[in-house]
């Protein structure tokens, strides 16, 4: 009889956690691979407007221009007027030309002629600032632009 109820009253066996590190490592590698460490330190606010009729940006041939009001921690120093940022520093509208050609040289040579300018502009910016940027881009003959937007749409149909 005792053969059959030997284990009765015994404690629950512990869950085997030997494979836990493997699982965690798998997740770890996934995130390591997909992680892109932020290259540019944001000096301006970046709340992008929403749009849903969008196209994908080709990363390898793009340079970015950021624009918006200075972030809260730079407010005291730079005021609240909209500013342009390229790379990780503020750029004056007149220095745009230099900053952009510099950014362009970082792309691989074959694609430098097909450069697309990604405009990441905060939704509270005035269009006037954007207009100045576009005017400069026309001067530089970088006519392909893309307004980077956030997914979604505020407009109710």
């Amino acid at each position: 009889m005792s053969k059959f109820n030997k284990k009765k009253g015994g404690e629950l066996p512990a869950v085997n956690t030997a494979s836990l590190p493997d699982i965690v490592f798998m997740l770890l590698f996934f995130f390591m691979v997909v992680t892109v460490l932020r290259k540019d330190n944001m000096l301006v606010q970046q709340k992008l407007p929403k749009a849903d009729q969008v196209e994908k940006l080709k990363k390898d041939r793009s340079v970015f221009i950021y624009a918006g009001k200075p972030s809260s921690r730079y407010k005291e120093k730079f005021g609240t007027e909209g500013k342009i940022q390229i790379g990780d520093k503020y750029t004056d509208i007149n220095a745009l030309e230099f900053a952009l050609s510099e950014a362009r040289t970082k792309l691989i040579p074959e694609l430098q002629g097909k450069v697309v300018v990604g405009l990441k502009v905060d939704e509270q910016t005035n269009v006037g600032l954007l207009q100045d940027v576009k005017e400069k881009l026309r001067d530089l003959n970088m006519v392909k632009i893309i307004y980077i937007t956030a997914p979604g749409n505020d407009v109710q149909q």
């Binding site: 849903d52 196209e55 005035n126 269009v127 003959n141 392909k144 937007t149």
Partner: protein, 200 residues
Amino acid sequence: MGRRATPEVNAGSMADIAFLLLIFFLVTTTIEKDKGIARQLPPKQDEQPPVDIKEKNIFVVTVNKEDQILADNELMDIQDIRQAAISFLDNGGDGSCDYCKGEKDIASSDNPEKAIITVKSDRETSYKTYIQVQNELVAAYNFLRNRESERLFGFEFTKVKSAIATGDFKGNEERAQAKLQEIQALFPMKLSEAEAKKSQ
């Protein structure tokens, strides 16, 4: 002296270390998903060639500094822009466009080939409204292109286009590209961006 087995390394804390790293990467990850509305700026020209465009073929959308929208001389809500643009493009006033399903109003655009939409904005217009307007106008074109590609080829223009762009398209890509171009020619995107005015 019997050989002693080497003591096993305690791997119990391995999970902790891995978790720590995992959490670090979780926090720093920003899965990049840059998408947006693509545009081509007009090239710089010293002298503008005189262009003769009938007024009825231009659909003017003006956004003022209070973010109010005037489309075709009517004060309009952002929700109505898309429909207004669709009926303008799809009008086919001169009867040469046999695929148009519009009202064939003589006072509106002749055909999609000639129809031009232009967006005028004030320097103090907010970028948010500006993008919303642009988005609605692109949506109008996409709607018409989808309609035509459904009719002619039985697929949705925007779906096939994004599938090709992401490399997910199954089938003959070149043939699909040719079809897309055919559709694009039916409703060519003529969106001009006038320079922003200085506000008084």
